[in-house]
Symmetry: C2
Subunit: 219 residues, 2 copies
Amino acid sequence: MDRERSGLQSAFQGALAGRETVVPVEAVVVPPQPRRADAARNRKSVLEAAARLYAERGVERVTMDDIAAAAGVGKGTLYRGFTDRSGLAMALLDERARALQEAVLEGAAPLGPGAPAPERLGAFVAAYLGFQVDNLDLVLLSESGRGPGARLGKGSYAFYRQHLAWLLQQAGAPDPRTRAEVLLGALAAEQVRHWVVVEGRDLADVERRLVGVARALLG
Amino acid sequence: MDRERSGLQSAFQGALAGRETVVPVEAVVVPPQPRRADAARNRKSVLEAAARLYAERGVERVTMDDIAAAAGVGKGTLYRGFTDRSGLAMALLDERARALQEAVLEGAAPLGPGAPAPERLGAFVAAYLGFQVDNLDLVLLSESGRGPGARLGKGSYAFYRQHLAWLLQQAGAPDPRTRAEVLLGALAAEQVRHWVVVEGRDLADVERRLVGVARALLG
DNA sequence: CCATGGAGCGGACTCTAGTCCGTTTCCCAC
DNA sequence: GTGGGAAACGGACTAGAGTCCGCTCCATGG
């Protein structure tokens, strides 16, 4: 899975480990590079094939064999490049996630720097919720890895947690780290799916309520 | 799955649907009864075999075939009685969950009735956290159903959500329903596992922090 | 411009959850 | 009792994720 973690995430991973003090996120974008030309080519066709098939038929109706066949590679290649089904989903999400992460790091306020922490917090909740809704199936897939522990500790989770913890701390919230994790739990794909898809709630309404929760967590 | 839902949960299911006003939980214990003697016998041996094998080898190392063989029934019987792997886990959890639910409904304060809502809230967080930790593997399994939407809307989730929403409302919290769901998300098995098992945090510490989160959600 | 070693490939194979359907067993009506 | 019909059973079968390992073919260095 290491190869799947974008450079953006890796960069601050070290500063994170076991630290009590919350530090701001610092990051540099360095995408993973296969060492051999054929590997790079295959990686690209797999991602393209997967994106196409998922879009055409929906995530549920595409098997790993389908993807391997469509990409013109063997299953071994698939699994060498992406670890498992959820790893492939993460790779597909990576680009879009990076856009959100950059917006957070250096985009316009209030999502980006410049606005006061409580405002940034609200903007982040809205933006993250939007991201989750726009990519529900893929996020769900990316979190579904076997041997639990799928969502946490994987993917860009650490990035978002760190950012939220930082904002919460800036805003003077007690126990920012835990509250960041709780907030991300409330924004988890399964929860969002339940509210928006299963219960059919209005997205703006969900957003309002979650922003309310975020504010409550400040005190 | 209906057959798996304990009477305790079914009883207030109706009062719940689509209602905006939060009502207190009312419940009666009426366990599911198979119609035929052989079915009842088989159900019992399956549950016993599963409990024994899970205890002996750990949840990960027990397949559905193992359980069927150990119980002396065919796979068809297994799936007729329990829908799927996670349904079996839920059935195993049911008895223990019922104990917690009864303690909430009619046990001693502060978990049971009698104490002021904020105190009951803290007691519930502690009790529920304890339950999750004591039954981590089974709860994880019971939440792992395929086609997402495993945790929510299944099992005793509705019961706990309702209870929490009620307490939050009594304590004057805004948007009690959403906040109940957020709190349950923070207490979800995967999250608890991450804190307690993966990060090795002290249970009492996690409890304290979560009680803090619960209090924050009151305001 | 080869040679070579190791990264990368492919697809047959394994393992397990979950389905299907012909057969058995129970229970009730008579 | 006993006969009929439905509920329940069992185990062969299907499907799809993930593994394994012998073969291929890049890229480097002589």
